[in-house]
C-alpha cells in the first residue's frame, strides 16, 4: 500500500466531511433556501473526488498525497458557499467540475512524462497568446464599470485568460529548460548563476510585452501582476541574474507610469481604489466587501447567515468575501493557509523534480496558483486596484476551474517519483553538491 495515497484518502475524507457539514449548516440557516436538489450535485462532486483518487492510485501511485485534498477542500467550500448565494449556479458548477475532472484525468493518464509537452510548445504558445487576448480582439476593451473580460459565444460566457496563461507557462518552461541545457555552467559547478547567452533576454521581453498589453488594453492590474510575477519567478529560478531582474522591474514600472498618465480608464480604477468612498460605481464593490468582511468579524456569521450577494461579483472575483463574512477571520485564515500550503507543496515538488523542464514548469504552475489566489484576495482586501482575478477552485468560473484542474494534474504528475525515467540530472546534482561544499 502506498503511503502517499493513504494520506490522500484520509485528507479527502476530512475534506468531504467539512464540505458536507458546511452545506448542511448553510441549509439549516432559516433564511436560506437550499433545497434538496442541491444534494445530487454534492454527491456528484464527491463521486468525482473518488474517481480522481482511484485514477491516482492506478496511474500515479507515488504522486504527492496532500495536493489533491487541499484543492478538493477549497472547491468543496466554494461549492457550499457559492451555491448558497445563488442555488441556480449548482448545476453549472457541477458541470464544470465534471469537465475539469475530465481534464485532470486526461492529464494524469495522457501525460506519462511532462517532457512530452515540450514537443508541442509552439502551438501551445500561440494558443496561449490567442486565449489571453481573444476576448479583447472579439469584444473590445472593457468599458466603464465592466470589470471582467469575457468571450460571449451565444449563451456561453467564457473567460479563457487563465487557460491561456497556463499554456504560456508550459511554453515558457520548455524554452527556459532548453536555455539551461544550452548553458550548463551552474550545473557543472562553475558559477553561482548562469551567465548564458543573449537569448535569455527574449523571454523577459516577451513577458514584459504581454504584461504591458494586459495592463494597457484590459486595465487589469491584478491579471497583469499575476502574469508578470509568474514569468519573473520562472525566469529567476532558471537564469537568476539580478541585473536583468532589476531591468524588468524598471520596464514594468515604466509601463505602469505610462498607463497611469495616459489612460483615463486606468485612472478611474486607480482613483476608485484610492478613494472608494466617493466613487460609487467602481468603489461600491470595494467598500461593500470591506463592510461585509467587517460584518463577519472574528468568527463570522456562520455558513448561510451572511449577506454576501450584496457585494457585486461575489461568486467570481469577490469570492473571498463570503468566506470572510460567513467563516470569519478564523475561517478566512484557514482558507488563506490552504493556498499557502498548496504553494509550499508545489515549490517542494519543484525542488525535487527530476528534470529541468519539470522543475521550471512546477515553479510556473505553483506561482501561478499562489499569486492568482493572492491577487484575488488582495483585491477584496483593497490591497490591489479593482481587477478581475478569480479565486482558484472557489470562484464560479468554468474555464478557470478547468485550468486549475489541468494545473493540478501537471503538478501531481511532476511530483511522481517514477521508476521508468532515468534520472538524467543525478550526476550533475552530485557535482553541484560537491562544488557547494567546497565554496
Amino acid at each position: 500500500m502506498n503511503h502517499q495515497r493513504i494520506v490522500e484518502l484520509t485528507l479527502l475524507l476530512l475534506a468531504a466531511f467539512i464540505t458536507c457539514a458546511t452545506v448542511a449548516l448553510a441549509a439549516v440557516g432559516e433564511q436560506v433556501e437550499i433545497t434538496w436538489n442541491v444534494v445530487p450535485y454534492l454527491v456528484a462532486l464527491l463521486i468525482l473526488w473518488t474517481i480522481a483518487h482511484i485514477t491516482l492510485r492506478l496511474r500515479a501511485p507515488t504522486a504527492n498525497g496532500v495536493l489533491f485534498p487541499i484543492a478538493a477542500l477549497l472547491q468543496g467550500l466554494g461549492f457550499a458557499l457559492m451555491v448558497r448565494i445563488d442555488p441556480s449556479l449548482a448545476s453549472r458548477q457541477a458541470t464544470w467540475s465534471l469537465i475539469g475532472m475530465a481534464g485532470f484525468i486526461a492529464v494524469t493518464i495522457g501525460i506519462r512524462n511532462p517532457q512530452q509537452l515540450s514537443k508541442v510548445r509552439a502551438p501551445l504558445g500561440i494558443a496561449g497568446v490567442l486565449l489571453v487576448f481573444l476576448p479583447l480582439i472579439s469584444e473590445g476593451a472593457p468599458s466603464g464599470s465592466e470589470i471582467s473580460l469575457a468571450l460571449h459565444l451565444g449563451q456561453l460566457h467564457i473567460i479563457p485568460g487563465e487557460l491561456g496563461k497556463l499554456f504560456l507557462i508550459i511554453f515558457f518552461a520548455s524554452w527556459l529548460a532548453n536555455y539551461r541545457t544550452r548553458n550548463t555552467e551552474e550545473y557543472l559547478g562553475q558559477a553561482q548563476h548562469i551567465e548564458g547567452d543573449r537569448s535569455r533576454l527574449i523571454p523577459l521581453l516577451g513577458g514584459w510585452l504581454i504584461t504591458s498589453a494586459i495592463l494597457i488594453f484590459q486595465y487589469d492590474a491584478g491579471s497583469a501582476i499575476v502574469t508578470f510575477v509568474v514569468f519573473m519567478s520562472m525566469w529567476w529560478v532558471a537564469a537568476g541574474r539580478p541585473l536583468d531582474l532589476a531591468i524588468s522591474f524598471g520596464a514594468i514600472a515604466a509601463t505602469i507610469v505610462l498607463a497611469t498618465g495616459t489612460l483615463p480608464e486606468f485612472q478611474t480604477r486607480l482613483s476608485a481604489w484610492i478613494d472608494p468612498w466617493s466613487n460609487t460605481q467602481l468603489g461600491d464593490a470595494i467598500t461593500r466587501s470591506s463592510f461585509a468582511l467587517a460584518g463577519g468579524g472574528l468568527t463570522g456569521t456562520g455558513p448561510g447567515a451572511g449577506n454576501a450577494d450584496w457585494v457585486p461579483g461575489v461568486t467570481d472575483h469577490f469570492a473571498f468575501v463570503p468566506i470572510g463574512e460567513e467563516l470569519g477571520f478564523l475561517g478566512a485564515t484557514a482558507v488563506l493557509s490552504g493556498y499557502l500550503l498548496l504553494t509550499g507543496v508545489g515549490l517542494r515538488i519543484a525542488t525535487r523534480a527530476r528534470r529541468e523542464f519539470d522543475s521550471v514548469l512546477a515553479i510556473g504552475v505553483t506561482v501561478f496558483l499562489g499569486v492568482q489566489a493572492w491577487a484575488s484576495i488582495a483585491t477584496t482586501l483593497r490591497l490591489l486596484p479593482p481587477s478581475a482575478v478569480s479565486l482558484p477552485f472557489i470562484s464560479i468560473n468554468g474555464f478557470a476551474l478547468l485550468t486549475w484542474h489541468l494545473a493540478l494534474g501537471l503538478l501531481l504528475r511532476i511530483s511522481e517519483i517514477g521508476p521508468e525515467a532515468a534520472d538524467q540530472t543525478s550526476v550533475l546534482r552530485k557535482i553541484k553538491l560537491r562544488s557547494r561544499s567546497q565554496s
Partner: protein, 482 residues
C-alpha cells in the same frame, strides 16, 4: 537553483503575510469602525429579506408590515397608508438602509434584540425567527385628521398627551411614500430617492422636529414663566410703543405700532412686545437662557423616531439681547419643541419626554418592553403652571387667540404670524384647560401666507379640527374626513 526556488518561496510567504495583516485589520482591528461607517447599509440590507415585525398605531391600525411575495426576494415591506406615516415610520430599503422607526428600532423589528429573540424557554434551544412588533402611541384617527386639516399647505402638526408624553399625531407636509423606497425595483428606488433628496421642498425632512422657525410671541410664555417664578406677578409695565435697546440692533416695536402695557395677563392678551422686552431687561439674559434650558428648549432631547428635539438658543443666537429674547424676536423653535413646551405647562410644570413608541410586543402579542413616561424634571412650580394656564385660557377667551375657541371645551393657546423674512404662522394650544388631554403645535409656512389675518384664520381652523378629533367632539369644521 534550489536556492532561488527558496527565494520565490520567501517572497510568496512575504506577500501572503501582507494578506494576513490586512485581513486582521479589516475583520478584527477596524471592524467596529467599518460596521458603524455612515455608508454601511449592510445591517439594514441583511434584514430586508428577513421576517420583520409589524408596526401598529395605538388604535390597532397596521401601518407597516412585511408580506410574503413570490419572486426573487421572498418578502416585501409594505406601508398600507402610504405617506400618512412617512415621517414617523420612515422606510427600509434593500440598498439605501432606512430611516425613522424602521432604522431606530431595527433590533426589535428584526429580532436581533435578545428579549425579542428569546420569548419562551424553547427559544433557547431552537433558533426561530422571532420578530418584535411595535405599538405606537400615535392615534390613526388623529393622524388622518391632521393630514386632512393641513391639506395642501406646507407645514407640520404635532399632538402630545401632556400627562404621558405620548405623541398622538405627527404630520409633516410635503411627504413621501415609503412604499416606493422599499420596492424590489432597486433602480426605481435609487431614482426616487435621488429625486426626493434633490427636491427643494425637502419632502424627506420631518418638519415637525427638524424645521426651526422664529417663535415670536410663542416664546413669551417662557418669559412669563420666568417673571412669575421671579415674583414679578404684580408688576405693571408702563404703556409704550417702542423700546430702544442698548445694543445697536433695531428698536423693538409693537405690531401695528400700538401702545400697550399693564400686568402680565394683559401683555399676553395684547401680544405686547415692548412690555415683554421691558420685563426681559429686568430679568436679564442668563435667567431667560436658564429657563429655556430647563424647559428643554436649548438641548437636543432624543425621541424614539430616531429624530431629535433641536435646541433653539443655539450658540449663534446667544448674542441676541435680553429684551429681544424676552419678546421672542429671533428665537427659533421646532413644532415638536413648541408642543413639548405647552405640554409641560399643561402638565402642571412637569416635563415628560415625548415618545412615539408605546410598547414592543412578541409574536403572540405579549408585551416584551413597555416604554413608560420618562420624567425630565420640573422647570416651573405647579402654581406658576396654573397661572400660565389661566393666562393662556384668557388669551383664547378675549385675547389674540380667539380664533382657537371651541363651543364645548375651554382651550388655552396662542396664535402668532406676520413674520417678515420667512412667512409662517404658529398655533399652539392645549385643551381642555381644567384637565388637559392634549397639547398641540401647528406650523404653516409658505408664500401664500402673506396676509396675517387670513393665515391666522387658516392655522386656527386646522388646530380646532385636530383638537376636536383628539377629544372626539362632533366636528363642524371639517367635512368628510376619512
Amino acid at each position: 537553483m534550489t536556492r532561488r526556488i527558496l527565494h520565490i518561496g520567501v517572497a510568496l510567504l512575504a506577500i501572503y503575510v501582507l494578506l494576513f495583516v490586512q485581513l486582521e485589520l479589516i475583520q478584527v482591528v477596524r471592524a467596529d469602525t467599518l460596521r458603524d461607517h455612515s455608508q454601511n447599509t449592510r445591517e439594514i440590507t441583511m434584514v430586508f429579506d428577513a421576517p420583520r415585525g409589524s408596526i401598529t398605531t395605538a388604535d390597532g391600525e397596521t401601518i407597516a408590515e412585511t408580506v410574503s411575495v413570490s419572486g426573487a426576494r421572498p418578502r416585501l415591506r409594505q406601508y398600507p397608508y402610504g405617506s400618512l406615516y412617512s415621517h414617523v415610520v420612515g422606510f427600509i430599503s434593500a440598498e439605501h438602509g432606512g430611516s425613522g422607526l424602521e432604522q431606530k428600532h431595527n433590533d426589535f423589528l428584526a429580532g436581533n434584540d435578545l428579549g425579542v429573540r428569546i420569548q419562551d424557554k424553547r427559544d433557547l434551544f431552537v433558533d426561530r425567527a422571532r420578530t418584535g412588533q411595535l405599538e405606537l402611541s400615535v392615534r390613526h384617527d388623529v393622524q388622518l385628521v391632521a393630514r386632512a386639516a393641513l391639506g395642501s399647505y406646507q407645514g407640520a402638526a404635532v399632538v402630545i398627551d401632556p400627562s404621558s408624553g405620548a405623541v398622538l399625531a405627527m404630520w409633516s407636509s410635503p411627504h413621501f411614500d415609503p412604499n416606493h423606497l422599499s420596492s424590489h425595483d432597486l433602480a426605481a428606488v435609487t431614482n426616487d430617492l435621488a429625486a426626493l433628496n434633490s427636491d427643494e421642498e425637502r419632502p424627506l425632512t420631518n418638519r415637525a422636529d427638524s424645521y426651526l422657525s422664529e417663535a415670536g410671541a410663542i416664546f413669551t410664555v417662557v418669559t412669563a414663566a420666568s417673571a412669575i417664578e421671579a415674583g414679578l406677578t404684580d408688576l405693571v409695565v408702563p404703556q409704550k410703543n417702542t423700546i430702544f435697546t442698548e445694543t445697536l440692533t433695531e428698536p423693538i416695536k409693537n405690531k401695528r405700532n400700538v401702545t400697550c402695557g399693564g400686568d402680565l395677563t394683559s401683555l399676553l392678551l395684547t401680544d405686547c412686545r415692548t412690555g415683554w422686552a421691558t420685563i426681559g431687561i429686568d430679568l436679564g439674559k442668563s435667567e431667560l437662557s436658564n429657563r429655556s434650558k430647563i424647559f428643554g428648549l436649548t438641548e437636543s432631547v432624543s425621541i424614539d423616531t430616531g429624530n431629535h428635539l433641536r435646541g433653539l438658543l443655539t450658540p449663534a443666537k446667544v448674542d441676541l439681547s435680553a429684551p429681544h429674547v424676552a419678546a421672542g424676536i429671533g428665537v427659533q423653535l421646532s413644532p415638536l419643541h413648541a408642543a413639548h413646551l405647552f405640554a409641560t405647562i399643561a402638565n402642571n410644570g412637569i416635563r415628560i419626554r415625548p415618545r412615539v413608541v408605546h410598547q414592543i410586543q412578541g409574536h403572540d402579542g405579549s408585551v416584551i418592553r413597555e416604554f413608560a413616561p420618562e420624567l425630565l424634571g420640573q422647570p416651573i412650580t405647579s402654581d406658576t403652571a396654573l397661572r400660565l394656564q389661566t393666562m393662556l385660557a384668557a388669551n383664547v377667551e378675549r385675547g389674540t387667540a380667539q380664533a382657537l375657541a371651541l363651543d364645548d371645551v375651554e382651550v388655552g393657546g396662542m396664535l402668532e404670524s406676520g413674520f417678515n423674512d420667512h412667512p409662517h404662522a404658529w398655533a399652539i394650544a392645549f385643551a381642555p384647560v381644567t384637565q388637559p388631554e392634549l397639547a398641540i403645535a401647528v406650523l404653516l409656512e409658505g408664500d401664500e401666507l402673506s396676509d396675517p389675518q387670513v393665515t391666522e384664520t387658516v392655522v386656527a381652523r386646522i388646530t380646532r379640527s385636530i383638537i376636536e378629533a383628539v377629544l372626539r367632539l362632533p366636528s363642524p369644521n371639517l367635512e368628510g374626513t376619512q
